[in-house]
Structure formats: C-alpha cells, structure tokens
C-alpha cells in the first residue's frame, strides 16, 4: 500500500510591538527574570486588560500579506487550562471569531508549485517561561506573559517535510518583510506546531493525527516530520492504530514521545472575554493598511528579474530576507551593476559572515563600502583575487577598500615598463618554456603567466601581462 503524509501547521509568531498585548510592560527579550511585569500580566484580581492598538494593526498587516480576509467584527475569548506558565489559568485568545480567515501562500518544491491554504490567524498572548532548574520545584519567569502573538493555522494541505519547510520559510520571509515580527527563531519569536496523519494515497478521509508542539527551528521541523511520519507508517503497517495525542519532539535525541492524551486536555471551555470589547474594523482602516504594505518577496523577485535583468536564481536568493534585499537595493542605487553586486553578495559575503559570526542582520559592512570595493575591481585597480582579500580585511578591520588597497600596496601593476622588466627576466630564466611554445605547446604560456603572478604577488594586470609575455616570447623565438 502506498501511504500519503498529511500535515497541517500552526505557526506562533511574536509581534514586534514595544509593549505587551494587554498592558504597558516592555516585550524586550533576554531581561532579568520577572522585571517586566505589572498587575495585569501577573494576573492579579481586579485588573483590567486593554488591547494594544499596534497588535490589531500588525495582525491586520500580517493577514493581508498572507492573502486573508480581515474580519469586520472579531472578539477575544478565554481559553482555560491549568499550567503554571499562565498565572491567570487561562490564555486570552480568539476562538470563533478570529481577526483573519481564509488566506493562502504559494510554495514551490522541486519545481512543483502549489497553494497552501490558511484557515485563520488569531491574536493571543504568549505564556511565561518555566525554568526547570530548581531542585525541588519549577521556577516561573512572567516576563514573556502577555507578549503579543499571532497564531497562523493552515489547512491540512502539506504533504512532506520539504513542503512544510518551504511553507514555514515563506511565511517567515513574508512576515519579516512586512515588519510585524523580527522572526528570530533562536529567541522563540517563531514556533511551529505540526499536526500529522497518514492515509492511503488517493483516500479522501484523514487518518488519526498527532500533534507536535513548539518546534523552534527549520531543522527541528523537518526532522520531526520525517520521524513522526515514519513512526506512524510503521505502526499502520503493523496493523496498529494511531492514538490521537500530543507528542514531544526531542531534538537532541531525534525522537518524538507521547506527552498526553489529547481529548480531555483539549477541552478548553472557551468563553467570551468579558473584560475586552469587540474589535470592529472598517473597510477604510483595512484599505489604509493594505496600501501601506511593502513590496512582498514574490513581487520583488519578479522586479529584480525585469528591472535588473538578474537570473531568477539570483533574484530568489537576494529576496530571501528583507534585510538582504534592502542591502542589495541600497548598493544598486549607488552603483548600477546589479549582476556584479549580486555575485559578490551571493558568493563572497556569506562565507565571511560565517567566519566573522555575523549575519545579514548584523553585517558590519555597509552597501556603500561594498560598492567602493566593487568599483576598484571593475576599474581593474585591483584584481578580483585581491578584491576578495580586501573584502576579508574589511570584515576584520572595518576599514574602507581604498585604504586597504593603499596600505597593502594591492593596486594592480599595469605599468608596462615595470612589467616588461619582470617578464624579460622570467622568460630568460625559463628557456624550456620558450622552447615548448616554439614546438606548439600553448600550455607553456600558462606556466609563464603563473610565474609572473608569483613574482608580482598577484598584482600584475593579467591581460596586460599576457600581451607582454606573448611579445617577449615571440622576440626570443625570432
């Protein structure tokens, strides 16, 4: 029997607001425990939450960027559960009337394009952080309590780990562009839940699903899907039934294990939040946010191909993240050589970022500095090889390309007189090569060029040097 994997995802994204969703505490990550709290997010009796207007704006923007309908009327609900990460013993979320519904995101895997449906996006508050460090208890840090989240829920449209990854990356890309979140996975700004089931290929009926929560990297997402789908197929082949449950993914061990039976745990007894009033969005408000949406990755990629004449591959790489695209566009604005800039950004910069523990978010080189270097290469002041060395030095010292070239004497030797003297000597010292060339072995030219580069420490202008070598050899053979 041939099996088919069916996956639906829930993606939690922390919104990049300055303050929490229902109170004025800052959302800043990485602060001392329990220093960003107030009676509202601590869940003290008698407090009144008030919704942050930016949360509504960001959720609307995210919904529009993901092709959703924005609800004219939505409301907040209480989701009740007992777990000490939420002091109130309920999470304020949205149940039956979420702010966004019915979106779609296009993905492409192995050349096959498909649309992944988005069922809904709702706004809610994040929970606190439990620390399992105490010898005889669990410690709670409330700082993250009330940090605004959107939860994006998909249709069960995904069919493989690769599709899940492509979708997650696409969503991250779009949200980062729209500026609603920094999408920093390592800080938990984006987390994935995976609902996965197996069915006979061609069947319309869904199998029993399991849920894996809080996968916090693309790698964990892929591995968890691969492991869990394999596990379920083995169970089915053995004639066993899949139990509907929440499973925990252990990324270190690479296995998932049963966490709790789902049915009862999921009776959240939702009811309307009496302390928060409905959100009513007029078409004019939605239109305004729509008109302010930045150019999204898909449109940008197309423009790079049309306007800058870049290959589709280059355009795809450069538009992967908003910061990369912004860097590229700033460079092109200063220097109209899109392909040269693209080559250096795709080939030379990534390994140097890694070497210097930087990323495109934290890169220390400015587009203007890169452009200065590329002009030196283009004008043949330095060779491409020297250019790479200069770039390396720019990362380390932060100096400008021109200064490094001067300090290290890297300017190419195009002075024919000086080069002639060096070449005369090399040709005279290598009579065997001259003989070989005379016998018709053109390869010997390569050896002589190599000797010239060695003698000039790579600074010889290769084109000029080759012309002189040919002239000098001809003279010797005459």
């Amino acid at each position: 029997m041939e099996y088919e994997i069916v996956i639906g995802m829930e993606i939690h994204v922390e919104l990049g607001t300055k303050t929490k969703i229902f109170c004025s505490c800052p959302t800043e990550f990485g602060q001392d425990e329990n220093t960003h709290t107030c009676p509202v997010c601590l869940g003290m009796p008698g407090v009144l939450p008030v919704l942050n207007e930016k949360v509504v704006e960001y959720a609307t923007r995210a919904g529009l960027a993901l092709n959703c309908e924005i609800a004219h009327f939505s409301k907040m609900d209480r989701k009740n559960y007992f777990y000490p990460d939420l002091p109130k013993a309920y999470q304020t979320s949205q149940f039956d009337l979420p702010i966004c519904t019915g979106g779609a995101v296009g993905i492409e895997v192995d050349g096959v394009k498909k649309d992944i449906g988005i069922t809904r996006i709702h706004i809610e508050e994040d929970a606190g952080k439990l620390l399992h460090e105490s010898a005889d208890g669990t410690l709670l840090d409330v700082n993250r309590c009330g940090v605004p989240l959107i939860e994006i829920v998909t249709e069960p449209d995904l069919r493989s780990a690769e599709e899940a990854r492509a979708f997650a990356e696409k969503v991250r890309n779009i949200l980062e562009y729209t500026g609603v979140s920094d999408c920093k996975m390592e800080q938990g700004s984006m987390r994935f839940d995976v609902n996965l089931s197996i069915r006979e290929k061609g069947s319309e009926v869904l199998g029993t699903r399991t849920e894996m929560k809080n996968l916090n990297s693309f790698r964990a997402l892929i591995r968890a899907v691969q492991y869990e789908s394999k596990r379920q197929i083995i169970e089915l082949k053995k004639g066993r039934e899949i139990i509907q449950e929440t499973r925990k993914w252990d990324d270190a061990k690479g296995v998932s294990s049963s966490l709790r039976s789902k049915e009862e745990a999921h009776d959240y007894r939702y009811f309307p939040e009496p302390d928060l009033v409905p959100i009513v969005l007029e078409p004019s408000y939605i239109e305004k946010i729509k008109s302010e949406l930045p150019e999204l990755p898909e449109a940008k990629k197309k423009r790079y191909v049309d306007e800058y004449k870049l290959p589709e591959y280059d355009a795809g790489v450069l538009t992967t993240t908003g910061v990369t695209a912004r860097f590229f566009e700033e460079a092109v604005a200063l220097y109209n050589e899109p392909k040269q800039i693209s080559n250096w950004m795709m080939v030379e910069i990534p390994p140097l970022l890694k070497e210097n523990e930087q990323s495109m978010e934290t890169i220390t080189i400015t587009p203007a500095q890169l452009v200065e270097l590329l002009k030196l290469v283009k004008d043949k002041v330095i060779s491409g090889t020297s250019g790479k060395e200069v770039l390396k030095e720019m990362f380390i010292s932060g100096k400008n390309a021109g200064d490094i070239v001067k300090e290290q004497g890297l300017a190419q030797m195009s002075d024919t007189g000086e080069l002639e003297a060096i070449i005369e000597k090399i040709v005279a010292d290598n009579p065997k090569s001259v003989e070989d060339i005379g016998a018709g072995n053109e390869k010997a030219y390569g050896f002589l060029t190599g000797q010239v580069m060695k003698a000039t420490k790579g600074k010889a202008n290769a084109q000029v040097a080759n012309e002189i070598i040919r002239a000098v050899v001809a003279k010797h053979l005459a």
């Binding site: 607001t17 300055k18 303050t19 004025s24 505490c25 800052p26 001392d32 425990e33 329990n34 220093t35 960003h36 709290t37 107030c38 009676p39 601590l42 008030v50 919704l51 942050n52 207007e53 930016k54 509504v56 009327f73 409301k75 009740n80 007992f82 777990y83 000490p84 009337l97 439990l130 620390l131 399992h132 460090e133 105490s134 005889d136 208890g137 669990t138 410690l139 709670l140 840090d141 409330v142 009862e264 009776d267 007894r269 309307p272 009496p274 928060l276 009033v277 409905p278 959100i279 009513v280």
Partner: protein
C-alpha cells in the same frame, strides 16, 4: 435537561476539584436545576434576533503602544508563597 453525574465529575476534573459521591449527587441536582431554569429561554422565538457576541455595546477600546513602568522584581514576587532566583516557585511540573 438535567445534569448527570458524569457531567459533574468531568467538569470537576477539568476544574481540578474533588468531590465525594454525596457532593456529586447534590451538585448534579443543584446545577441541573440552574440549567433547567436557563432552559426556559429556549421557549422564546429568537429566529429574528441577531446572536449576541458580546454583552457590552462598546467596541474598539485600545491603548497606544507606549512603555510604562513595571513592578520591581521584589514587588512582583511579594505575594508569592515561594520564590527562588528571582522567580515564582511552583510545585515541579513535567517539562
């Protein structure tokens, strides 16, 4: 529509409440009576009435995204029965 004992024990479990057999019987009767009373509402014709999504006739109460002062760590933990390392301490939970 009276409440049966199973409903009482199910809801009690979700609310982490423990009752004796006698208490469950009493609660089933009492809560059942409450529900029966609420049930009188279904005698009304509501087919022409819009569903109530919220009891208040107010909408769009927002605040600006501006940071205001927080409690100190000490004040935040002042009412905690137990604390450790700047955190609230609760009975050990499964990770």
């Amino acid at each position: 529509m009276s409440l049966i004992r199973e409903d009482v024990t199910y809801v009690a479990n979700l609310a982490r409440l423990e009752f004796s057999e006698d208490e469950v019987t009493a609660l089933a009767d009492q809560l059942g009576a409450v529900l029966d009373y609420a049930e009188t509402l279904s005698g009304l014709d509501t087919s022409q009435i819009k569903a109530t999504e919220h009891v208040l006739a107010v909408q769009n109460v927002f605040r600006e995204d501006e940071i205001k002062s927080c409690l100190s760590n000490e004040d935040a933990l002042a009412n905690a029965p137990e604390s450790e390392a700047g955190c609230f301490k609760v009975p050990r939970v499964m990770e």
